[in-house]
Symmetry: C2
Subunit: 518 residues, 2 copies
């Protein structure tokens, strides 16, 4: 997601005016623009140091727990959150205006995510246990080697605005890092401070002391990234904020990995026959994906390549769509000014806008149009993300011309191709053109709705993330928090259980290069 | 390895004086200090651009080759290098003075490494093929997902001075990146430019055009890291040079992963009974590891924690050891001045020095001694690496006191523990104290001699590397060059073979979370 584009923009708290910040982090009701709940005190440097120091103190014990015990602990957290669902959803709806049905589902997704990582821990292959026997006859000679992955240390997590549960206090970064054996300190998002505190209290109470902590405020985020005991950071937020924190993490005396999930334009290509087959149905689905959650998704489809003939149906669908209140005032302002600037630039034509409820920080859905040639000439400007329910439809007449332009798109989390049965060859060519710039390729579907699964990849080339090797959703997101250790010629009784003779844990292991499932 | 410590030190070419650099990169014979062979022209920015552009052009075809065909190509490279062994070893011995036996073995290790990656490609689990079936009943619903790893794009590799074959033109970084499907551009090391050119001609001739290229000169290295088409960089060299290049890579408009294998102090702990059991034998093994290859290894044991009673044997062994010529003049000067400064500092006492042949850039082995308390007080200074055959022995009287100090050591590639049968409990405690700061734990052995295997980890926490998640040696080093892509609801006929129904390649895959070996 992209909320801001200034490089001084380290994090999202600057939407809290300076005068209010002295009082703490204040939540607001997006439906009214009025304060919601008491302000939460900002964490000073000493607060951050206290929480991180507690996390560092908890690391040896938490990381040494048998993985199955950590699995039990994750399930306890999930159970406690499920038990608190009613109150959490009520609080979150007041602070985010995302609606009770969506928030109830999101919290369930969040607890299912914790349970997926319990499953990952019990399955055991996440440690990549690898055993080599000795071979003195090769060059160089090989001693007995046993390798596995171990947690890095305390992890900092920056919560997102747009998922107050699933990418926040107990979200995917937290779940995967706790699963790995890393204590977690979350920098709460200022758009839902009350929800963050309530969630944090539940998570803390379900875990050993120090294993989980929370801090509030922009300066606390900077202190968290700079703290020597923090060994990796996960972040979901704006490109500008993520880049600034990535730069901080990379320029520390001891640089640490920074996993930022940033802005994404999520191109979709509809091929001619698919467009012609059912224009109204397709347009309705597009508008549905575009306006879901007031367009406040990393996976919002902001760019659609379509035949000119589809534009009337798309315009009709967007005209009929209803917007809603955005998560905070700054996002609302950025959406309004960004989309107005786009119209004023003349680089794309506003062809439709929907309506918005007359309340708080509400915005209208918008659709812009530009022909492929004009898009290619102004690609950088026209691929800027306008976080919210706005999209640009790029009209094309030749798939070949499209193939020249698609590889020039900025890195993005997803790319979708819509094709009829008879145009699978072209779908394959479009996919090959898109693949180098996307993390997930979707066929005849929409990018919103990110499944939490072993096979999910929620990541992509810069600027969609700061590290194209990793995902922030799905089972393999645990790998961000672990590094290898190899034991050479080590006595069996001193080895971790995962590497001992006889495979006492019964986990999948690789022995002399051969993967074996117990 | 650490060769230099100034931050302006982007790469190792500054050991070529400015006046000579205009003529190109000149190799020298370390046994005489005289030029060896003709100078190799430095690559200008346009040369770098041409080579990288050719690599980018080769990427789609090379990455799309079936992995088994890339395996065949790697074996062709290995065969061609083996066939050229005689000439390559002769040239390398002139430029490095490492000796024909070592260099013959090193080249064989290099070609075995290429063959290991052919094996990795044929085995197939390196792509982590992951298939999820649809499940509409969970929250969030799961579509059909198929995930695998794909190569990132052209890779830049910085060759090391101390392994003219195994960590150079056709070394581990090159082999693993080529295996992954990434074309490679190597920045040759200036200490063996002739060997680099001769090796590069052989590698190039065995591969399709553009898949492999080489550049020479410090400025070429900077241009390589900054080139927009380069998507990741591998580096083996000094901490200062590696940090400078890491900073470049991280501050690009599009930051890219930089995998630097840097300095390492490689602590070894000998417990009292192991020390008492056979002091002379132990000391001889220590001196052998310390002086192997004139101490020019990343894994050289630069720090030994031992009972005071062992020092006479250690001193005797080092006194009897013979040094040799270092790889280049700057390294030789740095070793001499660094070890002299250490003696002058009074922080540690010079207790023994060996002899050196009266030729070229030869240096003597040296052993310093400091009690544990004094070491702890000056830990930062006393853990500086003096690249070459020098070590500090830290005397201790209590294992408990040792346990307080070991976790404060800087991140390092290896840690060794020497223990008798009766002191395994203490060995376990020492290992736990060392584990957070090391990548490989060795029992009753020495760190030099890095096996190339599935279970090897050659990496570690900063400052031993810039990224503790990865290894530069062994099968899993391929992971540095690949990122995931997920295909959602994708037609089977458009999927890569690795992900198709029925597993046509017969590779290990994970289906709905369950790992299955074909």
């Amino acid at each position: 997601m992209t909320e801001a584009r200034t490089t001084q923009d380290v994090q999202d708290t600057q939407d809290v005016p300076e005068t209010r910040r002295a009082r703490g982090v204040q939540g607001y009701n997006p439906r009214t623009g009025e304060p919601s709940g008491p302000p939460i005190p900002e964490s000073g440097d000493t607060d951050v140091d206290r929480v991180v120091t507690a996390a560092a103190a908890a690391f040896p014990t938490w990381s040494a727990l048998p993985a199955r015990d950590r699995a039990d602990a994750l399930e306890s957290v999930a159970d406690a959150l499920d038990a608190g669902s009613e109150a959490l959803v009520t609080l979150a709806d007041t602070e985010t205006a995302l609606g009770r049905p969506r928030l109830t589902t999101e919290l369930k997704r969040t607890t299912n995510q914790l349970r997926l990582f319990a499953e990952v821990l019990r399955e055991g292959s996440w440690v990549e246990a690898t055993l080599d026997t000795a071979n003195p006859d090769i060059i160089p000679p090989r001693p007995v080697l046993r390798r596995m992955l171990r947690p890095l240390g305390p992890v900092g997590v920056f919560a997102a605005s747009n998922f107050p549960f699933a990418f926040s206090i107990a979200g995917g970064d937290t779940a995967s890092a706790l699963a790995a054996g890393c204590p977690v300190v979350v920098k709460a998002h200022p758009s839902h401070p009350g929800t963050s505190e309530a969630t944090a209290r539940i998570v803390e109470s379900a875990l050993p002391p120090g294993v989980f902590g929370v801090v509030h405020g922009q300066q606390a985020g900077v202190a968290l990234v700079n703290h020597p005991a923090v060994k990796a950071v996960g972040f979901t937020g704006s490109t500008a904020g993520g880049r600034a924190l990535f730069d901080l993490a990379s320029s520390r005396p001891e640089p640490i990995p920074f996993y930022g999930e940033l802005g994404s334009i999520n191109p979709a290509v509809v091929l001619p026959r698919a467009a012609a087959a059912r224009p109204e149905g397709f347009a309705a689905e597009f508008a549905g994906s575009l306006t879901l959650g007031v367009g406040q998704f990393c996976t919002n489809p902001g760019l659609l390549f379509a035949p000119e003939s589809l534009v009337p149906a798309l315009a009709a669908a967007v005209s009929g769509a209803v917007g809603g209140p955005m998560l905070n005032e700054r996002m609302c302002d950025a959406y309004r000014s960004g989309t107005e600037d786009l119209a004023a630039s003349g680089l794309a034509e506003l062809v439709a806008h929907g309506t918005a409820p007359a309340e708080g920080w509400s915005v209208e859905p918008k659709l812009y149009e530009v022909p492929l040639a004009g898009f290619a000439e102004n690609l950088a400007t026209l691929t800027e993300e306008h976080f919210g329910p706005a999209a640009v439809v790029v009209t094309y007449s030749s798939v070949d011309e499209l193939l020249d332009v698609l590889p020039k798109l900025p890195g993005t989390l997803t790319g979708a191709v819509h094709a009829a049965e008879a145009e699978l060859d072209d779908a394959g060519r479009v996919a090959e053109a898109l693949r180098p710039v996307v993390g997930r390729l979707i066929f005849n579907g929409w990018p919103t709705g990110v499944a939490v699964a072993w096979g999910m990849h929620h990541g992509g080339p810069w600027p969609s993330t700061t590290n194209a090797l990793h995902t922030s959703v799905g089972a393999t997101s645990i790998r961000r928090w672990v590094g290898p250790v190899t034991y050479q010629s080590w006595p069996d009784e001193l080895l971790p259980a995962e590497l001992r003779d006889g495979n006492p844990l019964g986990i999948p292991r690789r022995v002399d290069g051969v993967l074996a499932v117990h």
